[in-house]
Symmetry: C2
């Protein structure tokens, strides 16, 4: 049999996704499966059973990360793939689950065709990717990459004061540090896009070149409260000043182009009365781009704008960085392997960058990594409206199949 | 004696203002004397005693308005003046009180010099001008002018559920409808400016040509909530759209000039999260000008701007008028009488318009009216920082003296 003609069993793939989506199903057909919850335990139990049924061994590490392993024919580091089974509240059924169940279908297919690979194939279900119950997001892949300490991770608490460590014990998924998914030849994560770039381009599959960088800033404008009839020339209006910066943040991103984004999502106004001049406005700024240089350039433009607005309105403005997540370019060899797999299998695809973070962002620090995206309707995600068409899902898993086979076949 | 040389007794004037300011005095030298409170009762009792001591008769109407009367020599309608003794929480000592105690000093002065006027002179202390305890503001002068019914006024309740009518009974100032201050030849109100126009012009006294009109609008922008990394071209960002209108409101007022003001004082943003595109922003717009035509023109420009922003951002925008208070030009004859009084007495003064409303706004519907302003430092009012210099206060009462004498001398 020619490997290039190998295709996954779409019916079996969709059936597994639907069966998993019943765990934590919402009234509107979405999923609520918070990390380390009873629903998460049931999802893990099901995955574990499916892995064992597919002849895989299953290991659990000290963060609850599950690794299923299909042995290879040579004593080599595995080709690793995976994603997460936890979800946000009222999320979609593909987010995370596709990147775990797509690989499972690949193993089932290889078993069916009795195909042996040189390298082992490992499938990881990372714990608590979403950060909806325990913050921050991607905490367990970050811990594997050494970004977060074990103490930090285990001491995170949810809204009810339950710690990550206790929740992990409670659902019976606390394992050993030696089982961390650290020793792979490469890691490839399949995920739905969560952005409309593929939908716009009318393409089913994306070859992800990296995760864009993000910076969050907090801007505080202090003016002076005064009566409504105060003449225009005597005002130090914090909201009028802030509004110019809100408009400017959008313009800076638009003028930068090349996928740059700028957002003011949060804004608080004081004293917030119809006929009183606002004395204080505090707002957030979120800039994203694939190059740190460009993010720095947008922040520079923000500071220039702030200086102009300070002068024009006679207000005080303080801006401080809350967070910087530097851009993470993926490994060019692995990205190329994905592109080659799409081309040789005739799967229409394009290269793009991811806006949101994913476990692969941290895994890139552990081993050469890349991602595959499947088109998501209108880019909707973290929503019960999330939708990926069955044909697209099938194409994306076939792209993963041939990418993993390429890695797993390499000596 | 030449009337033109007549000047009030400044020491007696300031002493009365200081004595009144002790009723409800705050730690920082301001005044809290809410309408129909125990402090208001004590202020009324003191005023009543002072009026009686000055040989005046005192009448109370069914809204608690107090009218002190000094008889004239002819059977003519009185020259009326007055303002209010109630205050906002932590307000200043001149706001309202000056317009009651200035006239009292005038009567004392006339008594001292044994000057008789053709017309009677009446001093009114209007109830609940501020609206801090019972809304709306200027409720009792409005009731005298027929804008509010007696039932409406008496049924207003404060934060504790106490009605205006009950509070009036409780402090013993519920009088008869026949005592309403309805039958004057003219009404002149002296008040501190509450705006910095006189301070800017370095003039002690203002001749008020009218009360500017105000309109309040509510604007609701509906966009679409989405993830932070959504491409700029795919956003329907309610806050980015609203910010352009906030900037525009300021520009519309600035370009209109001629004292026009525009303010966005209140703004609420949803869902108000750092990395989520705002889906709904609701904000207020406050436009003011002395001509209704100009207010209408600014609203027209606001609507044009809304249409542009709707198109540019793909958002829905609804704008509705919450309130319109039309401009109230004062009576040109009375305004001229005030100007003549200032000129003949050598008091530096200029004509201007009032931003805030005053009891004289409603009294203009009852009889020909006007106002005199005294300079207030930096225009501060409704604040413990309110300050009018003693010399300015003296000059403003002398301006009132000669204005009232001019009216009271007319047959």
């Amino acid at each position: 049999m020619n490997f290039h003609d190998l295709r996954v069993n779409a019916d079996r793939l969709h059936a597994s996704i639907e069966e998993m989506a019943q765990i934590g199903v919402t009234n509107n057909g979405g999923v609520t499966r918070l990390a380390l919850s009873e629903e998460d335990r049931r999802a893990r139990d099901l995955l574990k059973q499916w892995m064992i049924d597919a002849g895989m061994s299953v290991k659990i590490d000290d963060f609850g990360n599950m690794t299923g392993r299909r042995e290879g024919t040579a004593p080599l580091a595995p080709a690793m793939t995976g994603s997460h089974l936890d979800s946000v509240r009222r999320g979609g059924k593909w987010d995370g689950a596709l990147g775990v169940l797509g690989p499972l279908e690949i193993v089932r297919l290889l078993n069916e065709h009795d195909i042996q690979t040189a390298r082992p194939i490992e499938i990881v279900n990372f714990t608590s990717e979403e950060g909806s119950r325990f913050e921050p997001a991607m905490i367990a892949s970050g811990a594997v990459a050494g970004v977060f300490s074990r103490e930090f991770v285990h001491s995170r608490v949810d809204q009810n004061g339950v710690s990550f460590g206790d929740a992990l014990q409670q659902i019976g998924y606390a394992g050993e540090a030696e089982n961390r998914p650290l020793h792979a030849a490469a890691f490839i994560e399949l995920h739905n896009e969560q952005n409309p770039l593929l939908d716009d381009a009318d393409l089913p599959v994306g070859i992800v070149e990296g995760i864009r960088g993000i910076t969050w800033w907090n801007v505080a404008v202090t003016g002076e409260s005064d009566n409504g009839p105060t003449p225009m020339t005597h005002r130090r209006d914090a909201l009028a000043a802030a509004a110019e910066i809100v408009v400017g943040v959008r313009e800076i991103a638009q003028q930068t182009g090349d996928g740059a984004t700028g957002l003011v999502g949060r804004l608080r106004n004081e004293p917030d009365l119809v006929n009183v001049i606002p004395s204080k406005v505090v707002f957030s700024v979120d800039f994203r781009h694939q190059e740190l240089r460009v993010i720095d350039q947008m922040i520079g433009q923000l500071h220039e704008l702030i200086d102009t607005v300070k002068e024009r309105h006679g207000v005080e403005i303080e801006a401080e960085q809350l967070w910087l997540s530097e851009p993470t370019p993926f490994d060019s060899t692995v990205v190329q392997a994905v592109e080659d797999a799409c081309q040789s299998s005739g799967i229409p695809a394009m290269r793009l960058w991811s806006g949101p973070g994913h476990d692969a962002k941290y895994m890139q620090a552990v081993c050469p990594s890349a991602m595959i995206f499947v088109r998501s309707h209108r880019g909707k995600s973290h929503s019960e409206d999330e939708f990926s068409a069955p044909d697209d899902v099938e194409a994306s898993v076939n792209a993963l199949l041939h990418s993993v086979l390429a890695i797993a076949s390499q000596p």
